[in-house]
Symmetry: C2
Subunit: 274 residues, 2 copies
């Protein structure tokens, strides 16, 4: 038995978990050839009942962006080295997931047994040149846990090793860079080394500073959140304040590493009985 | 006095707060003309000592992406209708801020005075068709506060009006969509209306369900976090558990609306004395 068949080139794709396909392109291709293959591929995916089509386009294939947009794709997200485009080819309602909206910042309150705060002066940013001493802060890397980011920032900026204790509080702010938002987690850490070695690029100076002197700095008056944090610390050492501690929990949806669940462990029986 | 001068066209730009410039382009332009203007502009900005150049390119100008990449720009972030490109034109170290890394999800535990949980069955997603009753969940919109998102999701999915009480706990998970991470905030809400009207697109059914029956569902066994949340709720009604409540604080860095700072208010003297 034989039949006359045409073979058409289509883009190699893998299925996602939501009835869609993901295409990774890497080899250079001219936009005219690409357009023809793209159209065959879309026709093929429609025939298969696929819904969303994701194309991860590396930056060296920027020549294909215009073609994809003209064919109905739009931007989903981008990172320095790639652009993720998406197209909903089904008649069913569009269920494309939202893009990331938040950056995660951490601030680390590191206090030693003499009630001295690990304080830094920054070379850049809002407090530059003001003589203000503040706790180390930074931005969590992609994929980094909040508790790990706090420990890393303290080590990088001051050379001090510290253990994560808890999240004391957090602030959500909007429009902090372009249209995006920030979640800033104020963390309490316990130092396990004490010698200071500053990171020369970002940090002007660092020192252990008596808490009362730290908290009495004039700039605190202007920053309601800084005053809250000072009150929280005083309530903490008086034993009245509980923040959220991370507990490792299994991820049920993939074979990724454990996730941290942050909760007030002191309020839970099972955590207290440990 | 006269001099022979050439006028060159440059892109209209505004300064950012970090020694860079932001360019908004909107009118259609062919890529050859654009390249010439872009080169004059960059030369001009370099001369002025500018550092970062941001170009916000609406999707209808996708014809210019390739030109920008060839001139040394790279992707910073993208939203459905625009692509943000950036280029560091200074010799000083690159201080381009990181892109957003996290999506913010909320789960709303709404319990009435009869200790009944507002529970839903979803039409899509992981629990579809399993008969599992869970609390309403959703994703915070761009610029939306966590406390507002929880109230909105409950209203949208069930028609129930509720007041935000506190964040009971939160989970950070990675690689949850492409390379991006999730922060999922478990919130306690107090219902102020009780009639249920479900949102037909997402929700199969909703009801007030006795807490013990809700917590005894077999699927809970598989989800460590769900068991933690049940324990937290029981500790809460016993008066042993404190989460984080939002307090409105002034933003010092811009004329934007207030930010919420989430903290264990019960542990702070000033909050208790109110």
């Amino acid at each position: 038995m034989s039949a006359e068949v045409d073979e058409v080139e289509v883009l190699t794709s893998s299925d996602d978990d939501y009835g869609g396909v993901i295409v990774h392109i890497n080899l250079p291709i001219d936009s005219t050839t690409f357009l023809s293959i793209l159209r065959s591929s879309i026709s093929n995916w429609k025939h298969q009942g696929k819904k969303g089509v994701w194309i991860k386009l590396p930056i060296h294939l920027a020549n294909l962006v215009e073609t994809l947009i003209k064919e109905g794709f739009w931007y989903h997200h981008a990172e320095p080295k790639y652009l993720m485009l998406v197209h909903w080819i089904s008649d069913s309602p569009n269920t494309i997931p939202a893009n990331a909206t938040h950056r995660v910042g951490v601030g680390a309150l590191v206090v030693n047994e003499k009630r001295e705060v690990l304080a830094v002066q920054e070379k850049t940013g809002h407090f530059q040149g003001t003589g203000s001493w503040k706790f180390p802060t930074g931005v969590a890397d992609q994929g980094e846990d909040i508790c790990a980011a706090a420990v890393r920032e303290v080590k990088e900026e001051t050379g001090v090793d510290a253990e994560f204790v808890e999240v004391l509080a957090f602030r959500q702010s909007h429009m902090s860079f372009f249209d995006k938002s920030d979640l800033f987690f104020v963390c309490l850490l316990r130092p396990v080394s004490f010698d200071i070695q500053i990171q020369e690029i970002e940090i002007e100076a660092a020192k252990w500073m008596p808490f009362d002197e730290y908290a009495a700095q004039p700039f605190m008056e202007k920053y309601e959140i800084m005053r809250y944090i000072n009150e929280i610390y005083l309530a903490k050492i008086d034993g009245h304040y509980s923040g959220f501690t991370p507990v490792a929990t299994k991820s049920n949806f993939s074979n990724q590493k454990n996730n941290y669940f942050y909760l007030n462990a002191g309020g839970l029986k099972r955590c207290n009985s440990v």
